[in-house]
Amino acid sequence: MGSRTRRVARRPLFWALVTGVATFCLLPFLWQLLTSLKSNSEISTLPPLLPTRPVFDHYLAIFQDRPFGRFILNSVIVASLTTVSCLSIGSLAAFAIAKLQFRGRNLLLFSALSISMFPPIAAVSPLYLLIRAFGWRDTYAGLVVPYTTFALPLAIWILWSVFREIPDELYLAALVDGCTPFQVFVRIFLPLAAPGIGTAAILVFIFAWNEFLYALTFTSTETMRTIPVAIALFPGLHEIPWGEMAAATIVVTTPLILLVFLFQRRIVSGLTAGSVKG
């Protein structure tokens, strides 16, 4: 960065914008945090903005009166299985596309890219019939298989751009030493691509953790709900219990915020992989 940015950084307008953007991004989250710590009587009146005495009743309630632990478990299982299967299948395909010569490799990249563009609603009715026919409603497989498929383009795209950077000589030298292409992939390319694989894993995990339409459609019993479905169908007697809702949103967003703070560089590089190189 040259003198221009340093000069800009001193201006009050710059800092006003930084503060404004940061407030805008954080405010809804902070407001939920404050709400989750208020007693019900304080929730239904303003002011006070801040809880006079923080209470943790709402946090207890979502785990004791509601199966919120189960929802979290469902989401963790579905998102983890999706991440593992998507990266296994995606890294093999990305390696083949990046380093092996075969007919139709551009076709795979193209079809991966184009399915990432279509609206999920377009496939939901036939997928629903398919999953019902398989007896996969209310099962983890009924979510993991579609999620793996629809996250594949993302994984293939990121990993392809990583594998492409690894020199061909490395691949050829290993072949000369008697490795099979699969051994080269496992022993040389996977370790070298570890950071890129981490990036893809984070993005696929977040995708699966947040998906809503298929989770809503392919589950019918309450115990099989994932977090987004549970939050969307949050039952209340007359009105939404906002204290418990706030506690629930804080519980499910805190891990994501930790993820963002720990891996912001990886996330940024993953999001830009397609647009910069493609």
Binding site: L152, V260, L271
Partner: protein, 288 residues
Amino acid sequence: MRGDRAFLMILPAYLLIGAVAIFPILNAFRISLDRRMPVFGISYFVGLDNYRFLIQDPRFWQSFLNTTYFSMLSVSLELTLGLIMALLLHGSFRGRGLLRAVVLIPWAIPTVVSARMWEWILNPDFGLLNYLLQQIGLLSSPLNWLGDRVFAMHALILADVWKTSPFVAIILLAGLQMIPEELYEAARVDGAGGWQIFRRITFPLLLPFILIALLFRTLDAFRIFDLVYVLTGGGPANTTETLSLYAYKLLFQTLQFGYGSAVAVATFLTVLLISAACILLLRRQSHG
């Protein structure tokens, strides 16, 4: 190098994409030619009847217009705010890493959760927005934002801008980082001012990235479902019903599988047209 091995490596990906993505899409076309109500065991071929009905269905056209309005307004606001965020993040200042993480938070939060957050802020009785606006004297009595025919749509747009501007910012930041510093220095030596530098250097070189962000965001906005489902449910009086939500209601609430699939297919075709137009635009940009 060896064709057979390569084939084995891509086979799982091909199988999944074929069976779980492409086959269902084609099947949706097929189902849209039927009158189907699976719960009642009704299923027979009606040809293009569903599409004939669709062309005259005012609710389809309203959801089409709602989706278009939502997409155009939210994407233009997101590009503006995203550009501002990217320019801020491109500067070198203490706390840049922190700001980058803070900006990413809305992007990482599930859309359903962000919808609940905004629903609470916009709550007519205990909402923060009504309280703040009344405190500073902009509002004399609380407004029911989500129950209002005009405000409800704009509340959706606000929540969407909050959630997705960071994505635009990250794409544009990548673009900004690829502009060589020498260009700026040369322009400054020639006596160019800040605005001139932005207009003559930053903006033209950033344009391909703006177009990519435009493409991704438009496609994403056009299939909006989660946010509307939670925040307004399409109301009041269907003024915020989008194409995906209308198709969902037809498919899983009134159980019209044939017609619901036709609406879903129409959504798909519209998205296809938009992406074709955007890609043409990108091509022309990169060749000229």
